[in-house]
Symmetry: C2
Subunit: 214 residues, 2 copies
């Protein structure tokens, strides 16, 4: 059957798909044309059957006895993740991190276009960052009205994260990337991804200390 059973795909699979894509893109730039699950597995530090299993959630892309054509595989993964088209984003909170994101060229390279930036600090409103004018967060509704921006990026201080999320959801975003340290809540039909690198620092501290005691 050619239909992809789109439910029950493990969350971990989605994350690995993103990693595979990055690795494949790099390999492609290095001139690789054909790749086996074993080779890709080495490069991604995962098990090769893990890769084959992950891919089967979306279809059959390989040739038995041969491997995967890298261009076909890259296109297939992009399609599977639905990133074979541009995605508009609205960013809230133009502090250090927000500014860094606005200047980050990879967003545009990967077709994530930040089309509006908001802040509540009147000293910042009207400034331009990376060619984009900072708008008063109070005007978010009118600015985003009817534009159907699907993604919100929260780079506010933790205390303002929930407000920012509520505001974005009211404006119709369907997914939120949250860089503020605080967890935000939303109705179940809005997806929230939290990026909290202190969790990673904590994990490092833990694992390092673990090792020492061995």
């Amino acid at each position: 059957m050619s239909y992809t059973k789109t439910d029950k795909i493990p969350r971990a699979t989605i994350q690995r798909m993103a990693m595979y894509l990055r690795t494949l893109e790099r390999m492609g730039r290095d001139g690789v044309k054909l790749v086996s699950s074993e080779i890709l597995a080495k490069a991604c530090a995962v098990n090769s059957s893990q890769i084959r299993r992950d891919l089967t959630y979306f279809g059959e892309f390989g040739v038995r006895g041969v491997g995967y054509n890298i261009d076909v595989l890259i296109a297939s993964v992009r399609e599977a993740l639905h990133i074979d088209r541009p995605w508009d984003c609205a960013l809230v909170g133009v502090g250090n991190l927000g500014r860094a994101q606005l200047n980050h060229r990879e967003f545009r390279q990967r077709q994530y276009n930040i089309v509006a930036a908001f802040d509540s600090d009147s000293a910042k409103i009207g400034q331009k960052v990376s060619g984009l004018e900072i708008t008063d967060v109070a005007r978010m509704r009118s600015v985003l009205a009817g534009r159907g921006v699907p993604l919100g990026i929260i780079t506010t201080p933790p205390g303002f994260a929930q407000q920012a999320a509520d505001c974005l959801v009211e404006c119709g975003v369907m997914g939120v990337l949250n860089f503020a340290g605080a967890r935000v809540f939303s109705s179940a039909d809005v997806f929230v991804e939290n990026v909290d690198f202190f969790n990673h620092l904590y994990a490092l501290s833990f694992y390092i200390s673990q090792k020492d005691r061995a």
Copy 2:
């Protein structure tokens, strides 16, 4: 037995511990003195027995029929993660993101002290960011020699991530927080945590598209 069986703790548990800590700290600031696993579970959007199970990997911190004293629990979690003491960090790559990190006050608040910042761009070397002078990456060895800095933070472009990691490992770091999009490899005794928010954007794109097709 009072000894904590430190192996076989699920990685997911460590990540959740970090989340619990954040939530508990916020509750503590709000004046909460006593917390049940049920309450904490609601606030973290997880199952309450998940929390109880996670905590038992490290010890017994609660009182049956009562709950957890929040100050005791916070201190216990900090101790469990080994973040009840300062950690020195060296940062490599002072671009947009590196600069944002250097200016990020929460590092210091959480006792992660960035004690050195390196870049290879001669235009940047000698500049000060947040009171810290940017040093030539070529001098990393002599600067870090004998200081026993345990953590490295990589905020270089992807193409330089591996070099940065190798360099940091040579200088004796035991853990690396990698913000560059590229995966880095190291000997097994060095821990690497990858922070790649494009993975999260990809996940959002996927889940949103999923929902639409329902």
